[in-house]
Symmetry: C2
Subunit: 313 residues, 2 copies
């Protein structure tokens, strides 16, 4: 076990339309966003599958960022996973126009020897049964995080719940949380998820921020306010990548570090959404990330009031 | 000018249905929620209109909390303002089933002599032209806050913008903010509102919390997490009432106090939504309010990271 990070998730070619423009067949996918983000902090091993249409340049760039690509299978003659979506006005929700699984349909994640010893594991949103296969191959880990989506909650609930029993942190958005638990109240729904196995739940709320729920309480962070949100695609995976990257880097996962990691993830995601594809993450320097971390810290700060003062009213 | 609070807003009889039950003709209205909340901190003067169907007991209770009712006009033989609404599943949005303005249709707010010297003024959501009439009657004030709604943004935009020029703080929810400015990005929309007159903008985001925007930056707070949300009616007005109450009590409105006031407002609103009508606010003690303030403070706290540490990655 080491302080390196294993990320399993899609590499995709995305066609995305937002009020700010359109990109066609740009590199994307949960694995790409998370790996690019996490590589700001620690060595990353990426496990994914691509067709031979996936641009070599993107792979070279990942390698240049310290991402080991031994676990990226390339299917000769195959086409990469493709997603096409559109964001309207307030950009809170993506409308999926087309999904082509292509080589992703037969994805069988095989971990290279070097990846099995990663202490930090992020299972991006893929079939829960594949997430389980990955966990089987991991030798021992310090921290495992999984993401999921509405489709698996409905179609592969049992396998998903098995994943939940085996990981330390589950990330979901609020709609998924309500769907999974059948509980409209988020606080109650979160408590239910904690009884399903994971020690921590991270609720992703898009432009409303994120929160961390543990048995002892809550931590909540607003979104980093940005005057320009160009494309929200990949925000959640950039968030998770920054978060696990930071945790691997500090080598501790107590509540204090998790709170900091949520802020780092939030700052990382804020860079992602400022441009299409991974262009925003590409431009993100440690200096700028630090600046946003400090700004977030300042943004949520407020002073205590003395008990005596308020009780005298 | 003194440290007392003037609140102008509706007193209503509400029929509300939520997944947790139904109440019929229960006391409500923005003025009632805000005055009940603000009275936790300082003397309040309420200006409103009712029919003779409004329960005397509710008025007695307000008086018992230090709310001066000289400005509450009672129209003999008139019927009070009535609102009927329903909340579904996640309780983020009310569906209005019926609105009967009744005596509220001819409301002409006249400030009793004693109310004109209030240093703190909250103009709850009423016709912008009436908000202007109130401001004309206020002798001098330290802090004025106005609320509004989508209907006035559409139907009385010019008067509303005149109100904005005359107040210190505007409160809106995110949909209203987007509607008013025609700007989908909240950070940009907020900046636009600050050019319209007010020094501060408070964005209310329901279960996602609230934020304070000023020229120099943002402050943001999540919602207080509650396992039981019974009825969100009045949450925004309880928030505003707690906020202005706290500011009147401390007698200062610099950014630090405003940040604290947002937390106090958030804690106050959390008590409101735990029960129907004003039952939640009624039960709220200074002790419990303080406990929630401290819990919020703890909930958003995270440690700084040294610049050197993060830049060494």
């Amino acid at each position: 076990m080491n302080n390196e990070i294993l990320i399993v998730g899609s590499l995709a070619l995305d066609t995305v339309e937002t009020p700010f423009g359109r990109i066609e067949d740009a590199v994307g996918g949960a694995g790409l966003y998370a790996a690019t983000a996490a590589s700001l902090f620690a060595p990353v091993h990426l496990v994914a599958v691509i067709g031979d249409d996936f641009p070599q340049q993107a792979l070279d760039e990942l390698a240049g960022r310290g991402v080991a690509l031994e676990g990226v299978q390339c299917v000769a003659g195959g086409r990469s996973f493709r997603w096409s979506g559109r964001y309207e006005y307030d950009m809170n929700n993506a409308e999926t126009l087309d999904t082509q699984l292509n080589v992703f349909a037969d994805f069988n994640p095989v971990l290279p020897e070097s990846a099995r010893r990663c202490g930090y594991v992020f299972l991006a949103n893929i079939l829960p049964s594949l997430q389980l296969k990955v966990l089987e191959q991991v030798e021992q880990s310090r921290l495992t995080i999984c993401d999921t989506m509405n489709f698996w909650i409905e179609k592969a609930r049992d396998e998903l719940l098995e994943v939940f029993r085996q990981v330390d942190i589950v990330t979901m958005n609020d709609a998924e949380l309500r769907q999974l638990t059948g509980e409209p109240n988020l606080a109650k729904a979160a408590t239910k998820v904690l009884t399903m196995g994971p020690q921590y739940l991270i609720i992703k709320k898009g432009e409303y921020g994120a929160s961390l729920v543990l048995a002892e309480g809550h931590f909540a962070l607003p979104c980093y306010p940005l005057p320009t949100v160009v494309d929200p695609t990949g925000a959640g995976d950039s968030f998770a990548g920054g978060l696990i990257g930071f945790l691997a880097w500090v080598g501790e996962t107590s509540e204090q570090q998790l709170r900091q990691a949520l802020a780092i993830g939030t700052a990382t995601a804020s860079a992602c959404v400022e441009d299409f594809s991974i262009n925003g993450l590409r431009k993100l320097t440690a200096d700028e990330l630090y600046r946003r971390y400090v700004a977030l810290h300042e943004m949520v700060r407020f002073e205590e009031i003395s008990r005596q003062a308020i009780l005298s009213t």
